[in-house]
């Protein structure tokens, strides 16, 4: 079956450390993968998109990697801050980018302790 899985457990880290979140997918061949942040009571907010031909993408303290052989994306937040505490969702278009529909992963709750 097709599915997208993220760290099921909440991730607790100390302020200043690097948080690493995992997104694994099966039976998809996405043209790209996206990461979103969701705060309680709010809609998801887009963070980064990485394409199938890109190994790594960075934006300020964020870094995303994409391994289409492993069918995995890693999302890193360096020098983490308590304000980074939120649920992080990975998402992909199951139709290879043709439809703009998104299938979301299960989400990982990140808690950064001061």
């Amino acid at each position: 079956s097709q599915k997208i899985e993220q760290n099921s457990e909440a991730l607790n880290i100390q302020e200043g450390k690097t948080a690493t979140l995992t997104c694994n997918y099966t039976n998809y061949s996405p043209a790209y993968l996206q990461w979103y942040r969701q705060d309680p009571g709010r809609g998801p907010v887009f963070l980064l998109l990485i394409r199938e031909n890109e190994k790594e993408k960075r934006k300020e303290r964020l870094k995303v990697t994409f391994d289409t052989t492993l069918k995995q994306s890693l999302f890193h937040i360096t020098a983490s801050q308590p304000a980074d505490s939120a649920t992080y969702l990975c998402a992909l278009d199951p139709n290879g980018g043709a439809t703009n529909k998104l299938i979301f992963g299960t989400g990982t709750l990140l808690a950064v302790q001061p």
Binding site: Y32, Q34, G41, R42, G43, P44, V45, F46, L49, L89, D93, G97, T99, N100, K101, L102, I103, F104, G105, T106, G107
Partner: protein, 114 residues
Amino acid sequence: SAVISQKPSRDICQRGTSLTIQCQVDSQVTMMFWYRQQPGQSLTLIATANQGSEATYESGFVIDKFPISRPNLTFSTLTVSNMSPEDSSIYLCSAPWGGGETQYFGPGTRLLVL
């Protein structure tokens, strides 16, 4: 960027009744999507709201239960019909932006059915 608003932000409804949720985008967009987020779960795509034609529903969702309107390129409604407690969720609308790959989300409508 796009600004998406939803009304109502939350509601408490009795079983058997229907609720219509409105979604307004501040610019014209080709596609709009409706998602459901059940408590503690990730987002599940309900349907694509197409302007000038019927909505396209995902597996497990039907028009009789979730009728959708899309009268123009900036507005859509989702109705949750004949509600039961299992319909208690957050309902979110979204629209693709830029090259169409990333999505902007509304703040969501939190629905509780008693």
